[in-house]
């Protein structure tokens, strides 16, 4: 069973360990730099990218403005098409709903297609407690699950593993979960993919219950959309008799037509493709095609708190493309695990503290896990101003007082450490000194000049951030 993020150390401690791990850093650097260049190419193909991005932003904002209506419309449409809609106020309730639905089928196994929402709520662990085994079927999720590991990237959860490590995990652990790895398995990506195909096929063919998330839910039609590459999603969405989809309430879009915007924005931002290999769309149930029972679990779990925050609510526009991770100099060095939730990187730094609050040291430190360089904003296909939200959340942490001050101090240490020692980070050196400057003049790494040129960096002074903020925003 995969691990859990609960009880993780705060960002600075976790990041420090990651930075010392040279294999991890090498894997991350290689992967993020590869995808960065490809994304830029895929985006440059479309002359109207800026207009698409603006439309994506506006559609999401408008949807959020009337989220209640759109959710009610979605519920009516899904129900009319033969589905059943459930509402979950928090993770515990969502997990209980899913466990009860699976138990009602009499099954003790489910196949899962990668879903951020089910990671966020810790569904697999909850199902295990209920005696239900959840098989992850996305290749990267399989690597994470077999390696008893945690995901570290939205799109490529096993991005921290290289091919040799993956080969070892398959060879050593596939037999514990079903069909063993083929003898003499090499570390060629094609052979590793073939091993996964063989390992999972019997599970797909016998699966009675599938669990998914969704990238989009169309309110006017009740249609759910899952984009993917491997075909494991199609297997989970098509072959089982019962399908349960757990989806955050912010995933709703008003109209069918809106997909023309998001299906252009998402694949190019995410995998740098004109279109991902497979997209499945379904509306309720269809006689003789796919699951006979469809359950949609609409998840709040902190989203309505986020919605209430004037500055922070823009985080709910996120379409989980992961472009912001791939350009982030802090993510590249710290790795995904340091963010302590299903959402790593810049989006995690603004989403997690809003979904979970900032009561723990980890969550309070997340808004400081950034150099405010703005690269994330530049690439975000729905124009989330991540630096703006980070600054806003820092202010909130500072204003907590009492425990907040302690948390803030811990968090400031994280920021100081991350931002003042790019060279130390690169070399993976042990971190000792703390200097006073909060903000780098120049960012490390390729592309840094472009970002700094394309965006005015907020000047950060020597004195504590809180004082500075108070003085400048009183």
């Amino acid at each position: 069973m995969s691990g859990t993020f609960i009880g993780m150390p705060s960002f600075p401690e976790a990041a420090r360990d990651a930075v010392r791990d040279t294999t991890l850093r090498g894997n991350l650097r290689h992967a993020t730099h590869t995808i960065r260049a490809k994304r830029a190419g895929a985006v440059a193909e479309l002359d109207d990218w800026a207009q698409l991005r603006e439309a994506g932003k506006q559609i999401k904002d408008r949807t959020l403005r009337h989220l209640d209506r759109h959710l009610e419309q979605l519920e009516r449409a899904v129900t009319a098409a033969g589905g059943t809609v459930h509402w979950a106020a928090d993770a515990e309730e969502a997990n209980r709903i899913v466990a009860d639905l699976v138990e009602a089928t009499g099954e003790t196994e489910v196949v899962k297609v990668k879903s951020m929402a089910t990671q966020e709520i810790g569904l697999n662990a909850a199902l295990e407690t209920a005696g239900i085994r959840a098989y992850e079927t996305d290749l990267a999720e399989l690597i994470v699950q077999l390696g008893d590991d945690l995901p570290s990237h939205i799109l490529v959860p096993a991005i921290h593993r290289n091919r040799g490590e993956i080969r070892d995990i398959f060879r050593d652990h596939m037999q514990d979960w079903g069909r063993p790895a083929p003898d003499g398995l090499t570390d060629r990506p094609a052979d590793l993919a073939e091993a996964a195909r063989l390992h999972l096929r019997e599970k797909f063919l016998r699966a009675k219950v599938g669990i998914s998330g969704a990238n989009f839910m169309v309110a006017e039609t009740g249609t759910l959309v899952v984009v993917e590459s491997e075909g494991n999603g199609r297997m989970c969405l098509t072959l089982p008799e019962t399908l349960i989809s757990v989806v955050g309430i912010e995933k709703v879009i008003p109209t069918w037509r809106d997909l023309e915007v998001f299906l252009q924005l998402l694949p190019r931002s995410s995998t740098a493709e004109r279109m991902n290999p497979y997209t499945t769309m379904w509306t309720g149930t269809t006689d003789g095609d796919g699951p006979r029972a469809f359950h949609l679990v609409l998840l709040d779990n902190g989203r309505t708190d986020t919605l209430a925050d004037e500055v922070g609510r823009q985080a709910l526009r996120c379409i989980r493309c992961s472009a912001c991770l791939n350009v982030c100099p802090v993510y590249e060095r710290a790795g995904g695990h340091a963010y302590g939730s299903a959402y790593p990187g810049p989006i995690g730094a603004i989403l997690t503290p809003q979904l979970r609050g900032t009561a723990t040291e980890l969550d309070a430190s997340l808004p400081y896990a950034s150099s405010l360089c703005g690269a994330c904003y530049e690439v975000c296909p729905v124009a989330i101003d991540i630096p703006e939200v980070l600054v806003h959340l820092r202010e909130k942490v500072a204003d907590q007082g009492g425990a907040g001050h302690r948390l803030e101090r811990a968090a400031m240490r994280a920021a100081t450490w991350l931002l003042d020692h790019p060279a130390a980070l690169t070399a993976g050196e042990r971190l000792a000194s703390r200097t006073r400057k909060l903000h780098p003049k120049r960012l490390p790494g390729p592309g840094a000049r472009e970002w700094t040129n394309s965006r005015d960096l907020p000047e950060l002074p020597d004195r504590p951030f809180r004082d500075w903020w108070k003085k400048n925003h009183a």
């Binding site: 290689h30 506006q58 075909g231 509306t283």
Partner: protein, 213 residues
């Protein structure tokens, strides 16, 4: 423990409270292009062809008359001895193949599909700019599982009628109430070091036949 209906009220209530002070959002400005491609059917078809090839689909052109022979050859070249025939597939399309035909009129089980080498289908639509074929379970396409489990998928696109340039042109022509699969090249993964590898769980070979008369 809360009852389901009270959670519904709670969530919707929280949404409404969160939005109480929010000003009305403006109409969405749809300033983006309806298409990125000149309105020329031959050019659009070439673009579809190129983009499918770019994502490692096999692409072939044929006249309607030559279709049976081409389909027969594609199946034979891949050593397909059995082929799934979705309801409504024109019989002529398989007239040039000696692969044993398995009909889905009584639904084949997943295990039966797994032991079948290939499937031949039509499609609802193809989108040139993204190199996509869209299946909507219509006649000659069948239910979604048919094009998922066999390892070879031969998909016939009738040009120019079934080909559009762009996504904004595609969506109004599709019926969202139908179950849909959008296919852009064979199954692939980038999960190992972000390197694209073709062929994971879906058909590892996708052959697209563009019928032009």
């Amino acid at each position: 423990m809360t009852s389901p209906s009270s959670s519904r009220d709670r969530v919707l209530g929280r949404v409404r409270r969160a939005l109480a002070d929010v000003p009305e959002a403006p109409e969405v400005a749809r300033d983006y292009l309806v298409s990125h491609t000149p309105d020329d059917p031959a050019g659009v078809l070439d673009l579809l062809h190129d983009n499918l090839v770019d994502y490692r689909a096999g692409v072939h052109r044929s006249t309607r008359q030559g279709l049976p022979a081409l389909v027969g050859r594609l199946l034979a070249e891949r050593g397909a001895r059995t082929v799934v025939v979705p309801p409504g597939l024109p019989g002529a399309w398989l007239a040039g193949s000696d692969a044993r035909q398995r009909f889905d009129d009584v639904p084949l089980t997943p295990a039966e599909l797994d032991s079948t080498d290939a499937v031949v289908t039509g499609c609802a639509l193809a989108v040139a700019e993204t190199g996509t074929v869209v299946l909507d379970a219509g006649p000659g396409q069948g239910r979604r599982a048919l094009t998922l489990i066999p390892d070879l998928h031969v998909c016939v696109v009738e040009a120019p009628g079934q080909v559009v340039a762009s996504l904004p042109q595609a969506l109004p022509r599709l019926d969202p109430t139908r179950p849909m699969t959008w296919i852009s090249g064979p199954s692939a993964t980038s999960d190992i070091e972000l390197d694209r590898v073709e062929g994971v769980h879906g058909p590892r070979t996708l052959e697209v036949v563009l019928v032009v008369d």
